[in-house]
């Protein structure tokens, strides 16, 4: 009963509902405008809303998150430019549809499917998180440590990039998070005797640099690209279309929630995996994939919105972010004096149910804004990048400065911005860096707690790991990810397939 009341908080307070609505509306456009991404928007916003109360700040961010994950699809369909990373797969079939004059249908289907996916994600969050958090109380420090390592590895192994570069990025993040005086012993770490480094590096500066500045610099390559306009037909899809794709959407939503719930991996990876899945299970598509198959829209769009709910599961229950945006939200909760983790779910369940409520509200607003205002939309999206990029850079600077009123943070942001720019070019993922920075403290504390409780004995430590099923599974998962990237794996796979073939003959 209590939780129902907390769940309805957002609907009972017009001010919060309005903020969710504003957030979702802004999110749709932030997601849609190429060059503006949700991660960027949320990381800049965190520095502006830190003087607010926690509910309004979270309302706004959730709106932007939900709207933004969806918004990218519009530009993907209309202009063949994915407005947000999570819409990269959407462009593959959405744009061919638009070229055939079915842009309206494509947008309609995308919107409804995002809505369905969003709900499945939220449903799973509401059901699973309380269970996971009960379970999480039994987590040992070593389990937290292993989970953090697993999260950092997952991005590199599930994306199309290289695992080694992902590992490097994650380790770099942990190192950046360790800069400053050690909170336990007060020893200086990575300060190189600079006074300025003793307090550590502001993670907000790192985030804005990595996701704001570096993205804006990257967009400088595309300043003069012009977009082709498409005609928009009927938007609201027929019930038959929705019904036809419902089974697929349920499958891809499941993929979305799962990928979202895995630490570190979010909507962009979920969408690509769902697209891949749809391609394999759709036997006789009306049109080929890549030539405007409706299934190619349904799969990534349900998955990326389902991933939103999924990403909150590890964030709320364990304090381990499900993707880059939830990593930033954890930062926001820290700033507001809250400490996400199993204790938050027990001490302040209202926060959890409030977030679920806000997500539901945001999902409805997304459906509403998705099916209306398309005319206005095409105007806004054509805002020239020549104006947009300098504005993003200005906002990034203001954001980095505003948190601590410190010009040093601005320089950190610039440094990480330029560094992130090169990392993007050379295929180093940025997600693990942020994950590493956020999880650095957790990893460090839990390692030291774990090893001290085993009296500094590595043998005893591993004995402990293998005597607990959970730790053993986590360690195995970590090892498996490593092995899957080595030649041994390919060799074993080849052997295996040969032997099954042999058995068939």
């Amino acid at each position: 009963m209590e939780s129902l009341y907390d769940f309805l908080t957002v609907f009972a307070q017009p001010q919060l509902l309005l903020l969710v609505a504003v957030g979702t509306f802004a999110g749709v456009y932030v997601g849609a405008i190429p060059g503006l991404s949700v991660t960027m928007a949320v990381s800049i916003l965190i520095s502006f809303t830190f003087s607010w109360d926690v509910y309004p700040a979270i309302s706004l961010m959730i709106g932007i998150y939900m709207g933004g994950v969806y918004g990218g699809s519009r530009t993907a369909i209309l202009l063949n430019i994915p407005g947000a990373p999570s819409a990269i797969a959407t462009a593959l079939d959405g744009y061919p549809m638009a070229k055939r004059g079915e842009a309206g249908t494509a947008i309609g289907v995308t919107t409804v499917m995002s809505f369905i996916g969003g709900f499945i994600g939220i449903g799973v969050l509401a059901l699973a998180a309380p269970l996971v958090s009960d379970f999480a109380l039994r987590f040992q420090p070593r389990d937290y440590m292993l989970l953090a390592v697993l999260g950092i590895l997952l991005v590199g192994s599930l994306s199309q990039g290289s695992l080694v570069k992902g590992i490097f990025a994650g380790a770099l993040g942990i190192a950046v998070g360790a800069v400053g005086r050690d909170p336990l012993t007060f020893a200086e770490r990575f300060t190189f005797d600079f006074r300025i480094l003793e307090g550590g590096i502001s993670f907000i500066a790192v985030m804005i640099g990595m996701f704001g500045v570096s993205e804006a610099l990257l967009q400088l390559h595309h300043v003069n690209k012009d977009a082709v306009r498409q005609k928009i037909s009927r938007v609201i899809p027929s019930l038959a279309t929705v019904k036809k794709h419902l089974p697929l959407s349920l499958q891809t939503s499941t993929i979305g929630v799962t990928i979202g719930a895995l630490p570190g991996t979010g909507g962009d990876i979920a969408a690509l995996m769902a697209y891949d899945h749809a391609k394999r299970v759709t036997k006789n598509p009306d049109r080929e994939f890549g030539d405007g198959a409706m299934e190619g829209l349904v799969a990534p769009e349900t998955a990326n919105n389902a991933a939103v709910g999924g990403a909150f599961i590890p964030m709320m229950t364990l304090g381990i972010p499900g993707d880059a945006v939830t990593a930033i939200m954890i930062g926001a909760l820290f700033i507001h004096g809250l400490n996400p983790g199993p204790m938050l779910m027990i001490d302040q369940p209202d926060m959890f149910w409030f977030i679920v409520g806000a997500l539901v509200a945001a999902n409805f607003f997304m459906l509403f804004f998705g099916l209306t205002g398309i005319r206005l939309f095409t105007k806004i999206v054509e805002m020239p990048r020549a104006v947009l990029i300098p504005l993003i850079l200005l906002l990034s600077i203001v954001g980095a400065y505003a948190v601590n009123n410190s010009i040093t943070d601005v320089y950190w942001m610039l440094g990480f911005g330029v560094f992130g720019y090169f990392m993007r070019h050379y295929g180093y993922p940025l997600g693990p860096v942020i994950l590493g920075v956020i999880l650095s403290r957790l990893l460090d504390d839990n390692w030291r707690r774990a090893i001290i409780s085993e009296r500094e004995d590595l043998g005893r430590f591993f004995e402990g790991v293998f005597s607990s099923p959970l730790s053993a599974v986590l360690l195995l998962a970590v090892i498996l990810i490593f092995v899957s990237q080595t030649p041994v794996w390919a060799w074993a796979k080849a052997r295996l397939s040969r032997s099954t073939k042999g058995a068939e003959e």
Binding site: I81, A171, L184, V213, L218, L220, D268, A271, A386, H425
Partner: protein, 188 residues
Amino acid sequence: MQHIEPEHHDGTSDATPGASDVTRRPGELVFGVFLLASSLGLLWSAYGIAGFEALSSPGAIPMATSAVMVMAAAVVVVKTIRLPMDVTETLARDILPVKVVIFAALLVAYGILLKPLGFLPTSALFLITGIKLLAKRNWGWTLFVSLGSLFVIWLIFRIVFTVLMPSGIVPEAEFIQFFRNLINGEGA
């Protein structure tokens, strides 16, 4: 998972990284070597925290992570050396065009000027230069767009988010107070 090849392989997202695994982009090796060298530096610095004193020492995790960085960077460098150079790309066009260098310099200049000049004049200068460089439109349009958007940003952040930026040479606070007095005066 099957490899999906989207058109936008430019590093905008972790799911579609900027590098390729069959060719080496210009400067990729240099970047890798730079990372390796810095990781070695970090490892040395981490060793200096507590050496091999104890598994629970403040230096344990820093040493472990920087060791991982060194190993990962070394693997990347070795892998990159083996790849053939991508001949279709050049450093000046595809990786670091002049525009990017100019904007990075503009950002540094912004940081230097922010304290002495203040938020409004610095931002105005930054936006005007930036938009003029990118849009290549006439001065009237440039001034209108940049000053207009600066005004909107200032309104939103100063009034809604109450963010305080260095005021520098513009007497912002007095200005706002003047308007407050004006409005209150009318109301009374």
